[in-house]
Structures are given as structure tokens and as C-alpha cells.
Amino acid sequence: MNYDVIVIGGGLAGLTGAIRCAEAGLKTVVISAGESALAFASGAIDVFGIEQDNSFVECPFAAIRHLPSTHPYQKVGAASLQQGLTFFTEQMAAAGIQLSNFGQQNHGRLTALGAIRPAWLSQEGADSLPLLAPAEGIRRVAIINIAGFRDFQPALMAAGMKRHPGFSEAEFILADIKTATLNINTRNAYELRSLELARTLKRDLFSQPNGINILSSALQKAAGNADLVVIPSVLAVEGGNELIRQLETLTGLRICEVATLPPSLPGMRMASALKQRFRQLGGMFLEGDQVLCGCFAENRLSSVKTRLNPDMPISASHFILATGSFFSQGLASDRHHLSEPVFGLDVDAPDSRDQWSDHRFMDGKPHNLSHFGINTSEQLNPYRNGQKIHNLYCAGAVLNGFNPVQEASSGGVAIGTGWFAANRIIATMPQAEETC
């Protein structure tokens, strides 16, 4: 089998790059080991939201100019990053998900523990708050759960929101909607996860013609006259944003869905839209397979072998490695070393385990390991035994030099580097249709 481009990894970075390549007419395949980190993500896109001193950033594109030269953003450049985000927004819209940006600056995303995280793009269902004055115009907050849903705790969320000075004086209404009200019929409704709950609601409630009215009147009753109504994201995967919009119309309330502990439905929604878009553009998506190794010659990667077809190498002229961080197994570790497990690419990290992390788990300071990753050239080409691999590009969390969580930059780095890598490839391929 021969392709123009093989993308290894089906998460945000890999699919952004793959969609760009497919759109340019390149014969592109994505090899994905399984569910990506998007199932654990909020479904919003952050670009750069937090400075090293933990202060919030309003204008990410101005702030990233001051980052060190090793940061992926300095390799990609602000202009290319912005183009990538615009491209991404268009592609998501084509797949049916509207992403909103609020006045060319970061906004606040509410988390299920009541924290505010900076974001650049959000889905419609997640009501976006002004980053520095999130409580503006909100005096009463209703936090409504589906009774017994274990992965959302209204009391904890209210306590978290109250830590913000703007919400400390707000009135909080905490309420449940009983499962009987929603006709949920299941073995034990107290044990459903978000995805099962969404499927159960689809089957038992939304299949009825007046299903949404039952939900909207229950919501109205529980929320009273709140200025903001928060619900866990459990209502639907596909079509979840439209459902929130309909509920807002029916109730006249301002409703915000927040992503819960995994599976996070807004993240899954984004993943499935990306896959759908890629396939629409003629891309080949191989799910559940895994690249085991590659064949290198003269500092170029010529083909890869996969777990399901080890005897049939897949070759291509260009490759994008977007396998994610430790959790996604783009990076691996043993007692003494960190490594890149697929190709054995050069990884930038100290060998002393004691230096990988900090004694405090979460106090706003990043652990060293969060900026470990693959060392790349200015063009995002990795090195193998010190030799640059010219037709392989790295994108997303597998890269070194940034702190996705502390900086709130995971989404922008994934999209920006995926876009950048794809454009580098397109520039070298005569058959690619320049559309940009």
C-alpha cells in the first residue's frame, strides 16, 4: 500500500493535519490505536491562556511572541497558528459543530469543579464567560444534575465557583432532575456514566415527540429564575449543541453544559466530527491498529509496519507523528529513561527520575515531564540518533518545549503544529492543490 501521507495518531493534532492533507488532494491515511485524548478533553480549544506567574492571558497571539525559541509556537509562528485555527473552525463547521470565539480574545470556560479555564474557541452549548469578569450579570446560578449521576457534584462546583471573587456573593440553587421524570428505564440509574446516560436518554426520552419538552419544563422548574443554568454534559453526543440551543429557546434560560469526568461528551463530539470530516474528504481512517516500527533509509522514513498487518508495510512519501503524550503512549518511560516508542526518535529529557516531577501534584507549577517530548527542527522534523528525518513531522503533545496544562495551550499547539506539518508536506508535493 502506498500513500502520499501517513498520519500516526487520530487525535486533535493528527486529524487536523490529516484533514488539511486530504483537503489538498493528497492520498492520506490516519492510523489510530483507539480512542484519543479528546475523550478526556473539554471540547473547547485553548491557545495560550496562562502566564508562568499563573495570571490569565487575554490576547494569546500577543503573549506567545515572548515564548522561548524552543516552544512549538515559535517554530510555527503566530500567523500560521491563526490560519490553522481559522481552518479548524471552518472544518468543524463543515462537520456541523459551530465554534465561537468571543471578540478576538480568550474567554472563560467553566469546569465541573467550578474553576475558570481560559479558552479561545468553545462549542455553543458551553456558555462562555468573560475571562476576567466571569460573573458579569450573573447573580443567581442554578447547578442542575440528573439525580444520581455520579460524575457531577453540584455542591463541589458551587464551592469552586464561590472561590472566585465575582461569584462569592452570588446565590446558588442546587437541584436534581429525577430520573423518573425523564422516563429513564435502566437497571441502576445511579451507575450510569455520561455516555450511557446520553444513550439512555436518546432511547427513553428523546425518542418521544414531547421528550425535549419534558426535559425543558423539568429544567425550568429546577432552575427557577437563575441567570445562568449549569448542567453536566450528559444529554447527547452528536447534536448536543443544538439540543442546548433548543432548551434555551424553550425555557428562556441561559444554559451552559460542562464537560464531566470521562468520557467527556463535548470532547467525543469533536473527535467524531473530525473523523467524519476527514472521511468526507476521502481520507482513510484505520482505527484500532497501531504502528510498530518504521523503515528508515538515508534519513528518510519510507514505510511503517502495523500490528494488524506486520507483513504488509505501508509506505508514503511523508509522515506525521501525532501520537500524544505518555497517556496516549506517544512517549514511554522505564525506570531510568524516557523514549519515543514507535521509531526511537530522540527525546529531550534528563535520565534522573527524581527530576521528572515535583513533590506537589497540583499547585499551578508544571511538572518537568509536561514539557518533555521529541526534539524537533524549526520545521518540526525529529531526529533519530542525531540525524534529522526529513520527511517525518511531529505534531501535538508528543513535542517538547511546552506545558499544555499550565499554559492552557494544548489545543492551539495540536492544531497549529498539525496544520503547519501538513502545509510543509503540501509545499513539497507537486500534485497538491494549493487552496490556501
Binding site: 464551592a159 441502576n188 469526568l261 501534584f361
Partner: protein
């Protein structure tokens, strides 16, 4: 200031202190136990959880061996739900002397410990993961004991006899009048409230922290802390306790327990000032893994879940700053007899294994001083949960793994929460099968105040995911049923709980533990944004009263530190 009047105050909520509370309460004395943190938070909860047969000491310390086998037989009866009768193997590897086996068996036999030599083939048949290169093995009646459950069961029983536990209550001084100890000055660490407890007898069962109590009385007794480190692997790689058949050494015991196995321990003397800040070093991890792989080679391919360490309280009697006269056995001091300071008794040394005997000895001394002649019944009366009648608990909606875990942990007391109620039966911690009902039971009946306490009562958060999926769920439930400060404490305890889990993960941060931690960090700090909730600038948010009180508690500790 609050004043409380009682007969006996016990300091220290480890197994020994809990045992003294129970023993005192059963003999009809009014007793209060004060513990600065949660029960079993110190050395009690930081060891192997090994139910020694005594075989390990048979050659080197026959007296300890005899104590162990007697207590072993007692605990099997009175604490059956805290114990697994796994049996133990003492294996001889090619680098060990096979001739030691005979000395070992002879010593066991004369201490009253059943010891049976097995061929390597027989040993491999009953323990398939044991090192196949073994030259021989001896089977002994070792087992395992859950220290958290054991301590909680002692407290529960003591309370049912009228005893009282004051957890998160720190002793900051002794009340001494006319040359006699008459009680303790305490401070509630969560609120800063001061409490004086007046009593006729004060029992110092604070383990390594007992030195501070002794200093309040100006007595010259030195404790020599010895750190021991252990590793937990994420499933049971062995069915029986595995020892090396040689003189006791570092890192040579592999113990199965609940859903995991653990290897330990190292031993290192540390300065007293370091006892609050101990951690497992990378070198210790390397030693433990190397030794563990010799016992069970599969360990090289098994995920290490956590590392932890504890401090053994070794005591030196008399004015001996060098520590040459260190005793490793049980030490009972009635300071009225040894130091002309009546009213204070210290019980220390010993092992988890001999906690009941230590409690009996201390309570005998208390009873003598108070003229109480009731006999000790702790060797014959079962602890709550150990009366063996849990087979008839009816819980039709609960799956067998869930009800089995509940009965395994709480014996017949599982009937208190295995209800015919879907909400109560919902599984909250899926790794360890902890239901909402079990959480509510632990909060209402077992003095669990927050998530970290809850873990010691129920195993919540102790499985492969290390609490990331259940911490918020459990915090929400605790907040709901305790009507805490509108979720404020519960939210705070989520962070404390994840930090406590991290402490054990960090020393073994590689491979799957790294993957798991990467996900936890992402979920809590990105998806949930927890670190945005913790004020980085202390002036920008008001400190809550709980935190302020803890701070004050720390300060008062500084004043009394040696």
C-alpha cells in the same frame, strides 16, 4: 476552653492505642483516645500488614517468635475479617545456604510454630509465581492482616462499650499537678479549639511521636526512628507470604493483601527531626525491585502502583543518647515506678502483630493503678465484623464482586449498608468495589471525616486508577451526608486526596504509573481546572478556618520539637 473528665486518656490512634481504648472500655473504665490525625495514619498503616507466624524471628529472637505465634492464633479467631490465612513460604535460593533450613525448622518447632519442608516442585505447585530456581521451601502459618480495618474495628467496638475517639486532636502538653500526671492539654487541629482532658491515667501509645509526649514530662528516654520503605504492585502476584529462608534482611518479604502484593522493607536509621518528612528514595525502589524479583521473577514485568514508608519506633532505655541499648521488643513503662511520675504509662516497641498483647499489658498497668480487677477479654471476644455470620446477608441487587468485597472488608457488619436500595448500592470506586452505602457507613459509624480517612476504612482510591475516577464522587457524597460547609471542605479534600495519592506514585513514576499520572494531571488540572481554584497568592483569597487551624497546630509542634 472545653474541659473533659475521664478515667483514662490514651494518646495515639494506631493499633495499640485503639486496642488500649477497647480493652479499657471493656473493663468498664471511662476512656478517651486522642489522635492528632486519623486512626492508623502512622506506623500502623505503613508496614507489610504481615500476620507473622513468628518464623521470621525463630532463629534470632525466640521470645518474639513465641509472642507472634500466640497472637497469630488469637487474631485468627478474634479479628477474622481483618485476616487472610494465606500461609507462608520461606524459600532458599541458590545464593542462600540450604543448610540453614534445618536450623530454621528446629527453631520454629521449639517456638511452637508449625514448619514443614517442601520440595521445590511442591512449592511451585502451590505458589506458581515463586522463583523456579528455588532449592527448597518451608511452609509456615504466616498470613496477612489489614491494619486499617483492624484499628477501625477496635475503635468501633470500644465505642460500643462507651469509649470515645477524638481524632484530629493533638496533645500539646501534659497536665501535671503535685508531681502527678493528671491529664492532657489538646488542640483540635481543624478548628483550633483548645480542650483539656482530665484523667487519672494517661497512656502514651503514640509510637515514634511518643518521644514528644515524654518530653512534656521532662523524662530522659530517647527514640531512634528507623525508616522502612515498601512497594505495592497492582495485582496479587503471589497467594502466600514469601520470605527468604535466611537471617532477616532488607526487602525480603513479599506479602499478598486484598487486591495487591507488596514487597518490603528496607531499614534505615533517620534523625528524629526528619520523621514528618520521610520519602521513598530512588535507590530504595531499586533495592526493593531487585530483591522482589528474586522472590517472584514476574515482578519485573508487573506494574508498581505505589511506594510508601513508615517509621519504626525503637526505644532506648535510660540515659543512652548513643542508642546502643535499643530494644526491639515490647516496652511498657509505668513512669510512676521508673521515673517517680505517677499517672503516665508508655507502651511502645513491638509490632502490629502484637498490638493486642501490648494493649493488654498497658491496660493491666492502668487497671492496677485504678484498682480495677476485671479480666482482659480481648483474646477471646471477637471484634465487630469477626463473628463469622456474614453468609446470610441478603442483597439480591448487588453483584457478587460488590457484596463479596463488602463482606471481605466488614464481615457481618456489611449488613449495615448492603441494602435493598439502588442508590446505596451504586458503586462509587470501581477499582475496589466501594458502594455509596459503604461510604455512608464509614462516615456515620467509623469516624471517617474526609476522603483520606475514607480510604483507610474502605480502600476507596487504592486501585489502579489511584482515585482519579472516584475522588470527586466520594467528596460529593461526604459533603452531602455531613452537610459540610456547602462543599467547601469536600472540594479542599479532593486536592488533599490527590496529593496524598501522588506522594505514593511519584517514587515509582515510570511505565504505566507514568501514564496513569499523566492522565490524572490532565483531568484534574485541565479538564477540571483544580489548580485554578487553589490561590497562588495567599492574599487574594481568604484562608479558610480549617487551614488556619492546621497552621497553628504546626506552629505549636515547632515549639516542642527537639
Amino acid at each position: 476552653m472545653r474541659q473533659i473528665e475521664t478515667d483514662v486518656v490514651i494518646i495515639g490512634g494506631g493499633a495499640t492505642g485503639a486496642g488500649v481504648l477497647r480493652d479499657c472500655a471493656q473493663r468498664g473504665m471511662r476512656a478517651i483516645l486522642v489522635e492528632k490525625d486519623d486512626i492508623a495514619n502512622g506506623t500502623t498503616g505503613r508496614n507489610h500488614g504481615l500476620l507473622h507466624s513468628g518464623a521470621r524471628y525463630a532463629v534470632t529472637d525466640p521470645h518474639s517468635a513465641i509472642e507472634c505465634i500466640r497472637e497469630n492464633q488469637i487474631l485468627r479467631k478474634v479479628a477474622s475479617h481483618c485476616i487472610e490465612e494465606t500461609g507462608g513460604l520461606f524459600i532458599t535460593l541458590p545464593e542462600d545456604e540450604l543448610s540453614f533450613q534445618e536450623t530454621f525448622i528446629t527453631a520454629c518447632t521449639s517456638a511452637g510454630i508449625q514448619a514443614e519442608a517442601l520440595t521445590p516442585a511442591d512449592a511451585l505447585r502451590i505458589e506458581p509465581n515463586v522463583n523456579p530456581g528455588l532449592l527448597g521451601a518451608v511452609r509456615v502459618p504466616d498470613g496477612t492482616v489489614d491494619p486499617f480495618r483492624l484499628t477501625a474495628a477496635n475503635i468501633l467496638d470500644a465505642e460500643e462499650y462507651g469509649g470515645r475517639l477524638l481524632s484530629y486532636t493533638k496533645v500539646v502538653g501534659l497536665i501535671i499537678n503535685n508531681g502527678r500526671v493528671r491529664g492532657v492539654h489538646c488542640i483540635k487541629v481543624k478548628t483550633g479549639e483548645k480542650v483539656d482532658i482530665h484523667a487519672q491515667q494517661v497512656v502514651n501509645a503514640a509510637g515514634i511521636w511518643g518521644q514528644q509526649i515524654i518530653e512534656y514530662a521532662d523524662l530522659a528516654i530517647r527514640m531512634f526512628p528507623a525508616k522502612g520503605s515498601l512497594l505495592i504492585v497492582d495485582y496479587r502476584i503471589n497467594g502466600m507470604v514469601i520470605n527468604r529462608c535466611r537471617k532477616p534482611s532488607d526487602a525480603d518479604i513479599l506479602v499478598p493483601g486484598d487486591t495487591i502484593s507488596l514487597i518490603g522493607t528496607t531499614s534505615e536509621k533517620i534523625p528524629y527531626r526528619d520523621i514528618e518528612n520521610i520519602r521513598v528514595t530512588p535507590d530504595e525502589v531499586d533495592v526493593l525491585l531487585a530483591e522482589g524479583e528474586k522472590l517472584c521473577p514476574i515482578m519485573a514485568r508487573t506494574r508498581v502502583l505505589r511506594a510508601y514508608c513508615g517509621v519504626r519506633p525503637l526505644i532506648s532505655l535510660g540515659d543512652d543518647p548513643s542508642g546502643r541499648n535499643i530494644s526491639r521488643g515490647i516496652v511498657l513503662l509505668d513512669h510512676g515506678e521508673t521515673d517517680a511520675l505517677p499517672g503516665l504509662i508508655t507502651i511502645t516497641g513491638g509490632k502490629l502483630m502484637t498490638y493486642r498483647l501490648m494493649a493488654e499489658m498497658a491496660t493491666d498497668a492502668v487497671a492496677k493503678n485504678l484498682g480495677n480487677s476485671k479480666p482482659c477479654v480481648t483474646a477471646i471476644r471477637p471484634l465487630p465484623g469477626a463473628n463469622g455470620k456474614h453468609s446470610d446477608i441478603y442483597a439480591p441487587q448487588v453483584s457478587i464482586p460488590v457484596s463479596g468485597s463488602a463482606k471481605y472488608r466488614h464481615g457481618e457488619r456489611a449488613a449495615k449498608f448492603l441494602a435493598n436500595d439502588k442508590k446505596q448500592n451504586a458503586v462509587i470506586c470501581e477499582c475496589e468495589m466501594v458502594t455509596r452505602g459503604e461510604i455512608e457507613y464509614a462516615v456515620h459509624n467509623l469516624n471517617a471525616r474526609d476522603l483520606v480517612d475514607l480510604r483507610r476504612r474502605t480502600r476507596i482510591g487504592m486501585g489502579p486508577c489511584q482515585g482519579k475516577m472516584c475522588a470527586c464522587r466520594a467528596a460529593g457524597i461526604v459533603s452531602e451526608i455531613t452537610h459540610d460547609d456547602n462543599g467547601k471542605q469536600a472540594l479542599h479534600s479532593v486536592g488533599e486526596f490527590m496529593q496524598e495519592r501522588w506522594k505514593g506514585v511519584r517514587p515509582v513514576l515510570w511505565g504505566d504509573a507514568m501514564r496513569e499520572a499523566d492522565l490524572s494531571y490532565w483531568l484534574y488540572n485541565n479538564l477540571l481546572g483544580y489548580s485554578q481554584l487553589e490561590p497562588s497568592d495567599p492574599d487574594s483569597h481568604s484562608v479558610n478556618p480549617g487551614e488556619a487551624a492546621v497552621l497553628r497546630g504546626e506552629e505549636s509542634k515547632e515549639e516542642v520539637a527537639p
